[in-house]
């Protein structure tokens, strides 16, 4: 890397800054999507970069899409399993604990 890369606002400097920002964003993209980056300067910088950088933005979008698909697949449960649990809860409340346990 040349010395120019350390001189602010030059093209190499911008490239170096963008590269570092991409790395930082990709490292934390999961936290960003999960809403785990605390509000503040870092969150704002990363969010701005996500909107500006196609690669980082796509990565975030992929995780969001995957999360939505997971909610769709795992958000519902077997109604029969729930019915069995409700029945067991009822029996426990009626005092059939021992029978239910065996």
């Amino acid at each position: 890397m040349t010395v120019v890369a350390w001189i602010p606002w030059t093209r190499p400097w911008r490239q170096r800054r963008d590269y570092a920002l991409c790395r930082q964003t990709l490292e934390r993209v999961q936290e960003i999507v999960d809403g785990e980056v605390p509000h503040g300067h870092t969150a704002r910088v990363l969010d701005k970069h996500l909107h500006a950088c196609r690669r980082c933005g796509e990565e975030a979008e992929t995780i969001r899409t995957l999360k939505l698909a997971i909610v769709r697949v795992c958000g519902e449960c077997d109604p029969e399993a729930v019915a069995k649990l409700e029945l067991l809860a009822q029996r426990l409340l009626e005092g059939h604990e021992l029978q239910a346990d065996t």
Binding site: Q30, E31, D34, E36, R55, E58, E59, E61, T62, I63, R64, T65, L66, K67, L68, A69, I70, V71, R72, V73, C74, G75, C77, D78, A81, V82, K84, L85, E86, L88, A89, L92, L93, G95, E97, A100, D101
Partner: protein
Amino acid sequence: MNATLEAPATGILVVPDPMATDLETQRKRFEELIVPEMSFLARIARAMSHSQAEADDLAQETLVKAFRAIDRFDGKFPRAWLTRIARNTAINRDQRNREFLQADDSPIEPEPDPGEVSNPEDIILSQVVDENLKNALDGLPPSFRTLIQLVDVEGMTYQEAADVLDIPIGTVMSRLHRGRERLRKSLRGTTLDPQTQR
């Protein structure tokens, strides 16, 4: 034990049995706090198990344990409490689960080549993808699946998930990352190109 306070036919005033009243209170708490969470319990038990039959057993055992321990429950965060009981029950049940739930010793997946990463368009909302995703989720170790369930579906924060599963927050993040990478990898072959759909 019956907690009825009715006076017998003799007309003698009966002092209510404090133990019985206490039991009634506990039953009420169970009914108010735990019974509404049956769907949650069924989902979380499924995430911790290898099959639906195993999940049914785990959920029922957890429910019975919750009923017996309701007097020790502080009434806060019933979901977190149920998850802890289910996790401990799963760990105690068999060695296989013990390995999955306690250790984080599965091989680390190599970082995906940026050129190979599945795009959002790849994970199209479709039945085929749902089926593939379901299979991929079933293929994950229960520790990964449980975490994904807690964070993505139940909306827990990393810290809440770390607390209920009794693991460090760093492990939460690495398991989530690795679990999602595996899911993405398994969906890579299922790309439904919009052009081919026309």
